[in-house]
Symmetry: C2
Amino acid sequence: MPGPKAADQGREVRGRLLRVAAELIAERGWSAVSTRLLAERAGVTPGLVHYHFSSVHALLTEAAIGTMRGLVEGLGPLLEQAGTAEEALDLMLAALDEHDGRDPMSLLFAETYLAAARDETLRRSLAEVVTAFRDRLSRRLAAQGVAAPDQTAAVVAAAIDGLMLHRAFTPGLTAPALAPVLRRLLDGRELT
Amino acid sequence: MPGPKAADQGREVRGRLLRVAAELIAERGWSAVSTRLLAERAGVTPGLVHYHFSSVHALLTEAAIGTMRGLVEGLGPLLEQAGTAEEALDLMLAALDEHDGRDPMSLLFAETYLAAARDETLRRSLAEVVTAFRDRLSRRLAAQGVAAPDQTAAVVAAAIDGLMLHRAFTPGLTAPALAPVLRRLLDGRELT
DNA sequence: AATCGCCTTGGTCAATCGCCCAGGGCGTAC
DNA sequence: GTACGCCCTGGGCGATTGACCAAGGCGATT
């Protein structure tokens, strides 16, 4: 038997490759990430990439989905703590304000969306992650009496993503400036 | 002198390369468009690409910006004709409904956004095109008495783009379902 | 008819790509 | 102490990449 020590090291390297892959997707773009670049950045030899993963594409897919899932699962609980729907919206705007559309996380988002449009498997996984988040937001809005919570959540999530993209080349899209407008989406409140 | 006939043919080929480039960006992705693929699809030999354009990247940039500009300049006048702000919004939703997030135009949009995030020149050009459209929408909203027209236009434009992306992997984001929610953005109307 | 210059050809160049594989290192179990 | 199995190395395969260039076609001008 190979013993747990070797297995641990293997898992560590595998995880490092996943992290490096996420970095490189954002840095160079999905299709510009190569076996050799991954190996060099992770401090291993090229052969290892195809030992731990069936293909570069499979590695990129797992890295992208894993990162997105981690991000969404980190934001979800915060959403639950928000008292009012306005606080939930402010929370998302605060998250938006941390990205300028050209930072690694924004680019990974965009790259993953784009790759998902062309890859069936990735599309399913991404749909799962995004839908989970949107449902969470929808329930939060519904609890606050916002009308049409599903559609509202969809529009809010899409608007945040779209704003993230637009910030890459348009100045002035700051959270304080946009908050009053986005709050209008929470109108149509039903009486409790 | 080479005569106008040869020059006309040259311009025709150049234009064909631009159209083919836009198709291929959407089809395969920005960085997967190769000299030989372009030439084959356009019915010419590879050498021609570098005769008409300084590099493949320059060709892609011109093709992407040109297509985006054409689309925006086609939608702009329609915006002007819209009587009310609601009609303007419906117009954009109708445009959204023609795309499912995986059609050529959606993919070209996303690819261009992503490429712009990494390229200074493309970013400037794209900013110009998008800002022009948003200003047009903003003026339309202002004329209708919508409060904070600049910010509202920015949110509407970003929401439409975001929804286009999300439709690639999420069903049910149809215009009729979303229209009531998006109309809330037009609230905060001042009295005339 | 001779000449000029733009448009077009098709092949070559070094570099890089994903993927593969034979073999070495090494800790564990028999 | 021998054999096993996992982790990892590093070079090699054919294919493809962007860019480049010498040469020819061909209509317009002189």
